[in-house]
Symmetry: C2
Subunit: 365 residues, 2 copies
């Protein structure tokens, strides 16, 4: 079994994690190593569900926070083992998101008495279908383990804070017609031509940009696929426009769907995928303290998160959540995935300051 | 080698032809049988090119006409051998177009001295790509063999005359955009939305309906395919609308393309397929006599042909042509392909009358 040394520095620990291959559905070895390393720490209560490890302090603090990261990666693409070069760590999972995992493990190992109780979660299968997702399964079967005042998901956010996330809804908008030979087209009804009105409405769409907790979100309503056609000489009797609606977290999934149905009034609308957004929840004391801590470390402005992430799984449980992790998300899933070591160190320092209330002198440590 | 008996009646001969399997690219046996039967006739000059047989009278008549049919069929679909039931002949190729082929062979065998010189053509590979098409190859390599004042293609036309044919042009109309994550759609440009204007123009299209030689054609401009999309969370950077223009035979291919380019002005238009129409040419003496003969037999009004057929290959050679054959074209390529025997007999009588100038007493023979 590969072993992890939690007494080493966070960059070396990131390398150890990267070098344990952990493509989705094959997280056994890395989960074993994480579990063994955490169980060796007497100040934590550790439990395991599948390949998801939960480690909690039980200090009776008035606040509890969750800090979570997934252990799996997308498939190997000639980018293992890790390679450290000029202050940048290269390798599969370095950015998405073993740098963040290393920060979690370092905090878990070194903070015996944080000022807030912490639930550390290292989970399986984030990169594949939601049914396998360790955080999803934990929320469904052991929601009490995720109960908290605030959560931080260490997805790569370039070392800044991206609060909440927008929801996503996918629908198929269908037009129907009647087949005919294209040489006698007037005997049929062209379903592709009818889709023109669907695209016309999309072109005229004006996005909402609501401000929530001081953050401006930015919605989007877009055709992501269009398909129709039977043969080169046949008037097509069906056309399907697949539309993706990204909605700000002040709208529920039901409200998002009602908007889309209304928008495409007169057309057959079928839902193929739906996931809620996540409210930033920056008004909570634990969140305010977190933002103050990371801004004292120079993390810059808190930004709204436009893309969907697992933070929304916390929203379902009533826990506000933000994304905060090392690495440029643009390099996630890329062959040349990498992370600047300074960002990993920065994230560790910021969280340590927050969990020890030492943010004022944090950068000097 | 299967043998054909040209002294039998046209229905029995149709059955013999149907029962010689002749899927495209496998016309050897049927071409051998046709060649042998025709070479036995001293009044014909017979030649063969691949599996295409040409048999000509050489009587020095002032007019020459071509009567043509293809020997191949689409693939077998549990519809062989032939079956005669209640005056209807069932089986692969019965409608498309061995009923017509039998008429040709009966005329060739029995008319030693027609009033017009006749070139009988029985050709290969009509049902597949044009490069294999026997009539196409003959026109390219031996155009002198197709020289004539008028041509009849015995494609199924329900025993009526369908004059000329419309041309067909296929183009891809392409819109381009710029990819972006759909959660940050404002950073990209949606190519599918841009295709809305393409469909809008198609919806507003008003077809030309020119009258040529007294026949009203009816054009059509239709999207037959649309496709676009990269992934469910990506703003698509390309959308392709495949458009089929069916144009009346008073327009050349070049004129048709110019119209389409103008129609889609501002868009990238690429030609994927083009074939000319065929003028009906009903003003020619041989054509007039033909129409008079078939109408005396009760074939009804001459109709314009909207679909594309090999008659257009004659147009390229300067020979006006019509479709005239037994069978409802709606049953061509269908599993339950069939032809009413009365239509086969009707077509034989009409052509015989025309080629012998006996139309007035034709129905009594």
């Amino acid at each position: 079994m590969p072993a992890l040394d939690l007494t080493t520095d966070v960059v070396t620990l990131t390398r150890q994690l990267v070098d344990i291959e952990s493509v989705s559905r094959d997280e056994g070895p890395i989960a074993d190593a994480v579990e063994a390393a955490l169980r060796a720490l007497p100040h934590l209560v550790v439990s395991r569900y599948g390949h998801t490890i939960v480690a909690r302090t039980e200090l009776g603090r008035p606040e509890r926070v969750v800090i979570a990261g997934h252990l799996d990666t997308v498939p190997v693409n000639g980018n293992l083992p890790s390679r450290l070069e000029d202050g940048v760590l290269h390798g599969l999972g370095s950015c998405d998101m073993k740098g963040g995992d290393a920060v979690i493990l370092r905090l878990a190992a070194t903070l015996a008495a944080p000022v807030r109780d912490v639930t550390y979660v290292l989970y399986e299968a984030e990169e594949i279908e939601a049914e396998h997702n360790g955080l999803n399964k934990l929320g469904q079967h052991h929601p009490e383990l995720l109960a908290a005042d605030f959560a931080i998901l260490m997805e790569p956010s370039d070392g800044g804070v991206e609060a909440g996330c927008q929801g996503t809804l996918r629908v198929e908008v269908r037009t129907v017609g009647e087949r005919a030979h294209s040489a006698r087209s007037w005997r049929g009804v062209n379903a592709i031509h009818r889709a023109g009105e669907v695209l016309r409405r999309l072109e005229a769409y004006e996005p909402r940009r609501p401000v929530i907790d001081g953050l401006e979100y930015h919605e989007g309503l877009n055709a992501v696929f269009v398909s129709g056609g039977v043969a080169g000489n046949v008037i097509p009797d069906e056309c399907v426009v697949t539309v993706n609606y990204r909605f700000a977290p002040d709208r529920s999934e039901a409200e998002a769907l009602a908007f889309v149905r209304d928008f495409f009034e007169g057309y057959d609308v079928r839902v193929t995928d739906s996931a809620p957004g996540a409210l930033p929840g920056l008004d909570r004391p634990a969140a305010k303290a977190f933002v103050a801590a990371v801004q004292a470390m120079g993390s810059g402005e808190v930004r709204p998160k436009f893309g969907w992430t697992d933070v929304a799984r916390f929203t379902v449980l009533g826990v506000p959540a933000v994304n905060f992790g090392p690495g440029d998300p643009a390099y996630a899933h890329k062959q040349d995935e990498h992370v600047p070591v300074a960002q990993i160190e920065h994230c560790e320092r910021a969280l340590r300051a927050w969990l020890t209330d030492e943010q004022t002198q944090g950068e000097q440590r």
